[in-house]
């Protein structure tokens, strides 16, 4: 696994290759290394981590969203990179405000890692994060005409009436 020193070296290498300030923070917690990065640089950073000879994180193991409500910036997209050569994992996290998520969002990484396709749709569906450049960004689990983003912390639990015969007249025009 990457140690704390290795994480700092990686962060510095990214700063040199991608640009000053692209890595906002490094987190080393319980032997797991995570980089906190600027959302607009995600594509360049992941491309560096995939192709650079010193890094070679060849697999994107997971991509998921997270809501840090009530902290700001609220939303985050997590990338879990894996180097199959060394058996090392590295987390990359891009935090962004709700407004940022719904306008500019983060650049898609589908061209680097085709596996991101479904997972970016899922994050878009549940958190409302736009992935700039994604070919077919649409809801995956929820119906296409669904309103709201269900995994956000301010989305109510059980916020949707369950339809039975006895209450269908109370939910008018549900069949539309």
């Amino acid at each position: 696994m990457i140690d704390a020193t290795g994480l700092e070296l990686t962060a510095r290498a990214i700063g040199e290759a991608v640009g000053e300030g692209s890595v906002r923070d490094t987190i080393f917690f319980r032997d797991q290394a995570t980089l906190d990065v600027r959302p607009e640089d995600v594509h360049r950073i992941l491309s560096h981590l995939r192709d650079d000879a010193d890094e070679r994180f060849d697999v994107l193991a997971s991509l998921h969203g997270c809501d840090y409500f009530p902290h700001e910036p609220r939303l985050a997209v997590h990338y879990q990179l894996l180097s199959t050569e060394r058996g090392e994992r590295l987390g990359v996290r891009a935090r962004l405000t709700v407004e940022q998520a719904e306008t500019t969002g983060v650049p898609t990484v589908c061209d680097l890692f085709p596996t991101a396709d479904f997972q970016e749709k899922e994050v878009f569906d549940f958190f409302g994060v736009r992935f700039e450049g994604h070919e077919d960004l649409r809801r995956l689990h929820m119906p296409e005409d669904y309103e709201g983003h269900a995994q956000r912390r301010d989305f109510p639990m059980g916020g949707e009436p369950v339809l039975y015969t006895f209450n269908e007249h109370k939910v008018p025009r549900w069949y539309e």
Binding site: R30, A61, T84, G91, F113, P114, R173
Partner: protein, 421 residues
């Protein structure tokens, strides 16, 4: 139906899908402009999709030109529900995601929480967990074997496989009290020690299962129908699989020996001797053989784990995390307080984020847990291997016959509870 309903994005997509594809064939496919492409819907209720999976297939005659999986029909919002539960009450929820590999789901979550707490699991609990997970792997592969063979027209294997799976479920019932979703793994260990006689019964099962696997192989390995349905069909290259993030038996069948039990060992898997079966071609036949061989390796691990099980506690003795033993409640005031606090409030977990990945029967099962310092998780996410692996169905089925699409779904082994969560 009113005009409002017709204008919704959902309806617009329904219309666009059929018409556009009929008129403009897919880029990159060798179809003449007057060749007829036929869009057909398969599922969500179809016996061969192993759940409620809906596939939008574009066919040219009987040849599949495009297939798009549409999912979400069993989305139940488990991840959202987990945010409203105390940590120890999340375990039954996550068990129901991939409902054939419940021990793995529970382990991934418990391991993530244990790492957040920095809690050590006693060796006995680790061995018990390994034994149960490997039993579960065999149960899951047996169910896959039975249903896949059924899809390919061999019905005997279904009865045989379910008969043997029942012996495993009996073992689960004996140790955890339930045949399915037993909630046996707890944060810090397992809920109860194995009862007397369990080890004997487990070893008897291992001995019996060896000959049973021989019987399956005698039935299937040289079966002409099966060979012709599986050999050379659905080949996807190793590079493409890695790009698509596919893991587990599908990746190993293409020749890459990537298995988290070996490469990044957890729960003392490094103590056991076992091998990683790999394929050579990466077709359906290799996928079948790899899974059969994995069952044999799992039997080896179970044998070593049950025979070499260390003495000691089966759950951590940290009273802030694990419930005190029942007999202490009558005599110790502290035990009573701890019990009360754990049951009413649950334990608090320091803030942080953990991604814990393990090797489930279908590939890398990752569990992401974000804690905010309270007794409920701020976010639980499962990186379910079925969900990711489903993306390679298009590569597997494109250019093959529609009947091979059925074989492709069978060899993919998707669990819709895990895909939709």
């Amino acid at each position: 139906m009113s005009s409002r309903g017709l204008g919704t994005p959902y309806r617009r997509r329904e219309e666009s899908v059929t018409l556009e594809r009929m008129e403009a064939p897919l880029a990159g496919t060798q179809v003449e402009s007057d060749a007829e492409l036929f869009t057909i819907n398969m599922g969500p209720h179809h016996p061969a999709t192993h759940g409620v999976l809906r596939l939008l297939c574009t066919l040219e005659g009987e040849v599949v030109r495009d297939v798009t999986p549409l999912i979400g029909y069993v989305h139940t919002g488990i991840e959202k529900s987990c945010e409203d539960q105390q940590y120890w009450k999340v375990i039954p929820f996550v068990e129901r995601m991939d409902y054939l590999a419940y021990y793995f789901n529970a382990y991934a979550f418990c391991a993530a929480v244990e790492r957040l707490l920095d809690e050590q699991v006693p060796p006995r609990a680790q061995y018990l967990r390994v034994a149960h997970m490997e039993l579960n792997r065999i149960a899951s592969h047996l169910f896959w074997l039975g249903t896949s063979a059924l899809d390919l027209g061999a019905i005997t294997v279904l009865w045989w496989a379910l008969r043997d799976r029942d012996m495993i479920l009996d073992l689960f019932e004996m140790s955890g009290g339930q045949r399915l979703h037993p909630r046996y793994f707890q944060v810090g260990g397992v809920i109860e020690d194995i009862p007397p006689g369990w080890a004997r019964k487990c070893l008897d099962f291992v001995a019996q299962m060896r000959t049973r696997i021989d019987q399956y192989e005698a039935l299937l390995n040289e079966n002409q129908i099966l060979l012709e349905r599986l050999r050379g069909v659905g080949v996807v290259s190793q590079d493409r699989l890695k790009q698509l993030g596919v893991t587990g038996p599908l990746l190993r069948a293409s020749g890459d020996p990537w298995d988290l039990r070996k490469t990044i060992p957890y729960s003392s898997y490094e103590d056991f001797e076992f091998r990683i079966p790999v394929g050579t071609v990466g077709d359906h036949y290799d996928r079948y053989r790899v899974r059969i061989a994995e069952m044999r390796e799992s039997l080896k691990i179970i044998e070593q784990a049950v025979e070499g099980i260390p003495e000691g506690p089966f759950i951590t003795t940290n009273r802030k995390v694990a419930l005190p033993p029942r007999h202490e409640l009558a005599t110790s005031m502290e035990a009573l307080i701890h019990h009360f606090k754990l049951v009413t409030e649950g334990f608090r977990v320091p803030p942080g984020e953990i991604y814990e990945a393990i090797e489930s029967p279908r590939g890398e099962l990752g569990c992401f847990v974000a804690a905010d310092g309270s007794s409920k998780p701020a976010r639980v996410h499962m990186r379910d291997p079925s969900f990711i692996n489903l993306q390679c169905l298009h590569d597997m089925a494109e250019g093959e016959l529609i009947a091979d699409l059925i074989a492709g779904i069978a060899m993919l082994d998707p669990i819709l509870g895990g895909i939709d969560r």
